[in-house]
């Protein structure tokens, strides 16, 4: 998987690690800004109110 990804990244000796970094940062940003905030309400840490729904 990562081997395939690496071989398909653009750039040469310098460009490829940069491209990999950019890709990694983009994935982390997506996780922190979209995926994790979406997952959060489904976990118990944020249930602090009393309500009918439990």
């Amino acid at each position: 998987m990562y081997g395939w990804l690496w071989s398909h990244l653009p750039g040469g000796r310098v460009g490829r690690p940069v491209a990999a970094m950019v890709l990694l940062l983009a994935v982390v940003a997506l996780l922190f800004l979209v995926v994790f905030p979406w997952v959060e309400p489904h976990l118990p840490f944020t249930d602090v109110t009393v309500n009918q729904g439990g």
Binding site: M1, Y2, S7, G11, G12, R13, R16, V28, L31, F32, F36, V39, E40, P41, L43, P44, F45, T46, D47, V48, T49, V50, N51, Q52, G53, G54
Partner: protein, 258 residues
Amino acid sequence: MSVDDSGTTLADDQPPAQSPAARRSPPPLSRGRRVVRTIGEILITLGVVLLLFSAYQLFWTNVSADLATQQVTDQIRNDWQIGQHGSTAGAPGSAAVPQTFNPGQGFALLHIPRLGAGWVRPIVEGVALDDLKKGVGHYPETAAPGEIGNFAVAGHRATNGEPFRALDLLRPGDPVIVETADSWFVYTVDNTRIVAPTRVSVLLPVPDQAGVKPTKAIITLTTCNPRWASYQRMIVTGTLVETRPKSQGPPTALGSGG
């Protein structure tokens, strides 16, 4: 030797026996090995994602909530200085007239000296997740600060700024102070209870007694229990013991940290 853009490497430090061609294309993996390798990579990736999620929950939500808390606190103090709201809510020092706030709007400050010198969090209207990221949330259907009835608020015990992390430290007699635009409302803690998450009767004007007309002003703080789980709620209740106009200065119960 050189490297070109296609990634062909003719590294100088390779043993001469290994030809560039051999290095470029290792013998193709068998299908089984490729499958196993990919599964391994996916599992490692999932592990890293879980670690990142821990970092998000334990660190990131607190950082962003602290920022939001500070902003709302500043905004509330700012509003009070220019007298945007609250000043028409009755004479200073009188119990606040019920008033409505926009969801997410900060309208008061909560001081609990037991949780630390100078401990203060903004109280915002609403108990949705987005409201609770800014501080402590006021259950919209409950009384206003100082009003006869039940002023009920909820706060996180873990993550997102975790204002009520140490709520279990509160003891009967501890002061819980609500600061509004023109008044200080000093409540003292009566008791702490652990109840089921569906026990909405704790929010009634007289807790657990439906239809009874309240005669006292009380405060109710709710958070989750145990700290990292959600199968119970911790409920702290207190009674109003002092109402003090802002002009008389902060109450002694606040200590020097306020």
